[in-house]
């Protein structure tokens, strides 16, 4: 369905270009762009994962050689070991250690597919979840009135024919990141996608035919176009396949919201429905109380995160080449632990970028010695890398977006190279 449509469109464009006396280069470029899916060239996919609640970056990826850490986190600091025995951090590079609950990610780091950027955050110093998430998703720190989200603007820069599944959020309502002019689909469960009447499938089937007939011919062009796309999309997805989906290569997803989201994203990628930007989220990172070490609030979330991402990557198999996954969180947490065995709202945190083009096996960014003078407001891991420097590089290099100003209006900083050139 998709393929045929794309070919028709490219044909139409070619005729148009010739008719207008378009140059051969234009012709070739337009045709190749529009026809690329039909030619079997797969599109790049950026998968973004928002960890809501502000992940403790120092707990996820710990500068374990810093003696100050033990002083400031008597209950929370952990030891590292080369062989990542149970209960110890995995020593990544002699300075940083990966939390044991994230051990599923350690092989990916060793294979140099996984990069970590530490000290990432926003230039706006707010410690409000609401404001910080808003700024990270709009991509305009300090400005609330930005109507669109940065991922939607990224979609707008792709510059080629769109599938209805080009931008998909595995949430029931669209996230702020995907607000904007470009069509984006929010669907918590792909099984819900289609004309449906619970318990009366045939009514739905008959009604579906009626709707299709009505929308095909309505005089309102927007409804006509969206209706046509909707029914094409439903056929593309073929829910029977969804129900029977088996992850490949023995991948086992955690039975969690995040696990289910990534499983469905993998499915969409493998079904070649035109997915290019995907969004998922993970909650529960606001660890004010009893954050724990090998076990506890943080470890539970981290295990879900690590295992979900690792399963996703295994499941992708040969499609790994097309995909980059990036995590994000609105800010980090205090260096000091608090009186309840947790940490409070801070500034810099860390993020993960995973992909075969990623400059992996490294901890990028800068983490100073954890002495008060080096900390932000003498208490928080400082933001040494603007999140936009990472997002622009990952989205820009992976999806081929050149214009940083379009992704992040008003930002004049430089990209932090996380994707290998």
């Amino acid at each position: 369905m998709w393929t045929r449509r794309a070919l028709l469109k490219s044909g139409g464009m070619a005729v148009f270009a010739v008719g207008m006396g378009g140059s051969p280069q234009f012709l070739a470029r337009a045709a190749s762009l529009a026809a690329s899916p039909a030619m079997g060239r797969r599109r790049k996919v950026l998968v973004t994962l928002f960890q809501r609640g502000a992940m403790d970056g120092l707990m996820a990826v710990t500068p374990f050689t810093d003696p100050n850490l033990r002083v400031m986190r008597p209950q929370l600091a952990m030891d590292a070991s080369r062989d990542a025995g149970p209960g110890a951090l995995t020593d990544l590079d002699g300075r940083f250690g990966l939390h044991p609950a994230l051990s599923a990610l350690a092989p990916l780091f060793r294979e140099k597919r996984l990069a970590i950027v530490h000290g990432v955050g926003s230039p706006d110093p707010t410690r409000s979840h609401f404001d910080a998430q808003d700024y990270m998703e709009s991509g305009t720190p300090g400005r609330k009135g930005t109507a669109s989200g940065w991922l939607n603007r990224a979609v707008g820069q792709l510059g080629h024919d769109a599938s209805p599944f080009r931008a998909v959020s595995l949430t029931s309502a669209l996230p702020r990141s995907l607000y904007g002019d470009e069509p984006a689909l929010a669907v918590a469960n792909l099984n819900d996608f289609g004309v449906q009447v619970p318990g009366a499938a045939r009514v739905a089937q008959a009604a579906g035919q009626s709707f299709e007939a009505l929308y095909e011919t309505t005089s309102q062009s927007l409804l006509r176009g969206a209706g046509k796309e909707s029914f094409e999309a439903v056929r593309m997805l073929n829910r029977a396949d969804l129900a029977n989906y088996q992850p490949a290569n023995g991948a086992v997803y955690p039975n969690s919201p995040l696990g289910r989201s990534l499983r469905q994203i993998a499915m969409l990628i493998k079904k070649d429905v035109g997915l290019e930007v995907a969004f998922a989220e993970s909650g529960g990172w606001d660890t004010h109380v009893q954050e724990g070490t090998t076990n506890g609030a943080f470890a539970r979330r981290a295990k879900d995160l690590g295992d979900s991402i690792a399963a996703f990557w295994t499941d992708l198999g040969p499609r790994q080449d097309d995909v980059t996954l990036m995590t994000m969180t609105e800010f980090g947490r205090t260096v000091h632990e608090n009186g309840s065995g947790g940490t409070d709202h801070g500034r810099g945190s860390c993020l993960f970028a995973l992909g075969n083009d990623v400059d992996g096996g490294k901890v990028h960014g800068r983490v100073p010695a954890l002495v008060p003078d080096a900390l932000e407001d003498r208490r928080d891991l400082p933001v040494t890398t603007d999140f936009r420097a990472v997002f622009s590089d990952v989205a820009g290099a992976h999806l081929g977006i050149a214009k940083d100003a379009a992704l992040f209006p008003g930002w004049t900083g430089a990209r932090l190279p996380v994707i290998r050139a």
Partner: protein, 746 residues
């Protein structure tokens, strides 16, 4: 009937004159020479006569070739949430002009709304009462500690489950509610008012103006004040003066928190900032234990509210929460960092002048400075203590307290300012902010921006310039009388032109309300419909950015949302939307159509009155005539239950219930901004507890007479049960009509 002719007068002369006079009215240094007036970037309003004089004699639909029936249907699509059965005939009989006059007079919502909202317990609460009744987790913990229900030792223990249970029990004993109950009632009342209110125009305008001055439930600080914001700041002014509406929003805690003006302050020395920080902890976040308590109380421990980092003293506070709570000065937050520009910027960019309104970044800063000190008085003892302290400090003579709004002289930047070219001398107080509102409320750019948005909402996504010019003219003539502007809109020929008819695509809220009206549905429990509205892309009261939902067809129509729209119509008609009771046969005088074809012919004009249905009928006739269609639908007829009268099963008996409940339920458990929408359930244990929670909330707002309906015992239901065969085909046809492209438009 009153008749008044507005003759075409040169607009170019009029608005600058008004502009100048509003300037001239200001005393002293404000009476600046004209030359200093800001020059809007765009050209001033067309310096030519308004193209058509307006007569307020007759609504000019006949000239546009419309019958009274067609015109009444159009009027009900724009100034009401669609027609109920018989509405079009009633409006025609009354006279369209009279109906409009009645609506413009802002009638009461009427007995039906009163009856349906009678059991709602939050609608009349003051903001302070809401804060009292819906404590956040920190406040709850404090109360439990104070009452001795929980000991320090228990608080320090790692057994969070036990602690949580104790707190929950305590909350129940105290009669405290969960904030999501407040949201459930707030969204429910919005739907009930739209479906059953007699003040349809006022409700449509409330929807419009709330979105214009958007605040969001996703903001933990603002959320508890949203019911009052709509009730006290928005609704009373929808047919009043724009300037009053603007000030009501500017001074409301919901807006003060949402756009951060509450924390905006003049630069000050560190010690003063620390004191201030202790004072300005927002009203819904009363304690240092708030975060910790949130982590205890919420399953996912996500997204607590605490905009500022804890200072060193905070650690001790957490070790001894009770002590800290008793002495808030010890729980000092990092102080506010001076002015916060967010409100000032959006005031100009979104609320008044518009993005091309000719203001500069310098103006943003100056307006923010003028508005420093406009903040929120914490309800209860903290607010009283603050007032006493300010009185002692001697700044009380300028202190202004109005409800929870407070002007705090100690936060105000008293330096000289220049706002939009106007000089503000040093030493001013609260009146500076009010002067700013005067300035922007009557600015030509504002007039253009506001009247454009009104035209977009009520006429088309691309309204004719002549119409906008005329509305701008009325706005300036009347000094922003919104009733006059809406009236002028209805009496404008452009409102009735063929390019305006059905030009708007309904928002999901409008779609749901109009479908319920068209079916004369009995909404026993609004919550499932509210969840559908979320699914269709419009979580109510929860659009995060201050822009509000975009008002264009494109924003609502895309692949995912369109399928959900079709499904909503279909499932509603098939009795699959819990909490809604229908009697499809009654719409046709109790007669059951003989065939699907007959159902189509009868019900299409009932549901879509005053419209040309040729295309819809032509497309659908062959489909419903197809024997295959009949076979499919008959085969699909639900077996014993779900009789023709479509008494919706209660959600507890709906098989696919959990899938349906899940989406918007995520809003419930989070104290979080993970958003109303996100699927992140409170725990990994899946949807079952989520569904249970949703049911609990549902029960909380179900009215007593809802019980009767669940017995499936309405007269209509019994009649239909006798009327074999069950009209599944009828439900299907009605569902297809509600999901049709024609029904998506207004």
């Amino acid at each position: 009937m009153n008749s008044r002719i507005l003759t075409g007068v040169a607009l170019g002369g009029l608005i600058p004159a008004l502009w100048a006079s509003s300037m001239g009215a200001a005393p002293g240094a404000l009476a600046a020479p004209r030359a200093q007036n800001p020059a809007p970037r765009r050209a001033p309003l067309a310096a030519k006569p308004a193209p058509v004089s307006l007569s307020y004699d007759r609504l000019p639909y006949a000239r546009a070739g419309l019958s009274a029936t067609q015109a009444a249907a159009h009027l009900l699509d724009r100034f009401a949430f669609g027609a109920r059965p018989g509405d079009v005939e009633r409006v025609v009989a009354l006279g369209l002009e009279r109906w409009l006059s009645q609506q413009l007079a802002a009638p009461a919502p009427g007995p039906e709304v009163e009856r349906r909202l009678a059991e709602y317990s939050t609608l009349t609460l003051s903001p302070a009462e809401v804060v009292q009744r819906y404590p956040n987790n920190g406040q709850l913990l404090r109360a439990a500690l104070d009452a001795g229900v929980i000991t320090q030792a228990e608080y320090q223990k790692k057994d969070r489950v036990a602690l949580k249970d104790r707190l929950a029990q305590f909350a129940q004993q105290q009669g405290y509610g969960r904030p999501q109950e407040l949201l459930a009632e707030t969204t429910a009342q919005k739907l009930i008012r739209a479906v059953y209110g007699e003040d349809q125009l006022q409700e449509a305008l409330s929807d419009f103006w709330f979105n214009h001055f958007n605040v969001s439930w996703t903001d933990n600080k603002a959320r508890l004040f949203i019911p009052s914001y709509e009730r006290d700041a928005i609704r009373p002014h929808t047919l009043g003066r724009f300037r009053d509406l603007l000030e009501a929003t500017a001074k409301h805690p919901a807006m003060l928190y949402y756009l951060n003006n509450a924390e905006s302050t003049a630069p000050m020395p560190d010690d003063a900032r620390m004191q201030l920080a202790a004072d300005t902890k927002d009203a819904s976040d009363a304690s240092a234990t708030s975060d910790a308590a949130n982590a205890v109380m919420t399953d996912n421990a996500a997204m607590t509210l605490n905009p500022a980092p804890p200072a060193p003293g905070r650690r001790k506070a957490l070790q001894n929460p009770r002590k800290a709570l008793q002495n808030p000065k010890k729980t000092v937050k990092k102080a506010a960092r001076g002015i916060n520009e967010n409100y000032a910027r959006e005031l100009m960019e979104l609320h008044t002048l518009g993005v091309d309104g000719g203001y500069t970044q310098r103006d943003v800063i100056e307006v923010a400075r003028a508005l420093t000190g406009w903040t929120v008085l914490p309800p209860g003892p903290r607010g009283n203590a603050l007032q006493r302290r300010l009185a002692r400090q001697g700044s009380a003579q300028n202190l202004v307290v109005d409800g929870l709004f407070v002007f705090r002289p100690d936060m105000h930047d008293t330096g000289a300012k220049t706002v939009l070219g106007q000089a503000f001398p040093a030493g001013g107080g609260m009146e500076e902010g009010e002067r700013v509102l005067d300035l922007v409320a009557n600015h030509p750019a504002t007039i253009r921006h506001i009247t454009h948005q009104i035209a977009v909402r009520f006429v088309s996504d691309t309204p004719p310039k002549a119409l906008e010019d005329r509305l701008a003219r009325v706005f300036s003539d009347t000094h922003g009388d919104l009733r006059a502007v809406v009236r002028a809109l209805a009496y404008s020929p452009e409102f009735w032109s063929s390019s305006a008819l059905r030009a708007k695509v309904k928002s999901p809220f409008e779609l749901a309300a109009s479908a319920l009206r068209a079916l004369d549905a009995d909404v026993i429990n609004p919550r499932p419909v509210v969840q559908w509205i979320t699914r269709m892309g419009q979580p109510l009261y929860a659009y995060q950015p201050p822009t509000g939902y975009p008002d264009s067809a494109k924003a609502w129509v895309n692949t995912g949302s369109l399928l959900n729209r079709m499904n909503f119509g279909l499932q509603l008609a098939c009795g699959r939307v819990p909490g809604v009771r229908l009697d499809l046969l009654k719409l046709n005088g109790g007669h059951e159509p003989e065939s699907a074809q007959a159902a189509l012919k009868t019900y299409a004009p009932l549901l879509l009155p005053g419209r040309d249905l040729t295309d819809t009928l032509r497309q659908l006739a062959p489909v419903v005539n197809d024997p295959e269609f009949v076979r499919k639908v008959d085969a699909a007829a639900p077996k014993p239950a779900a009789p023709g009268a479509m008494t919706s099963p209660d959600e507890t008996s709906t098989p696919s219930n959990e899938a349906m409940v899940a989406p918007d339920d995520a809003m419930a458990p989070t104290d979080a901004m993970t958003a109303p929408d996100t699927m992140t359930p409170a725990s990994d244990s899946g949807a079952a507890p989520a569904a249970r929670r949703a049911r609990r909330q549902t029960n909380a707002i179900r009215r007593p007479n809802g019980q009767a309906s669940r017995m499936n015992g309405g007269g209509a239901a019994r009649r239909a049960l006798r009327n074999a065969p069950a009209p599944t085909q009828l439900a299907e046809v009605v569902g297809v009509l509600l999901g049709s492209p024609e029904f998506q438009r207004r």
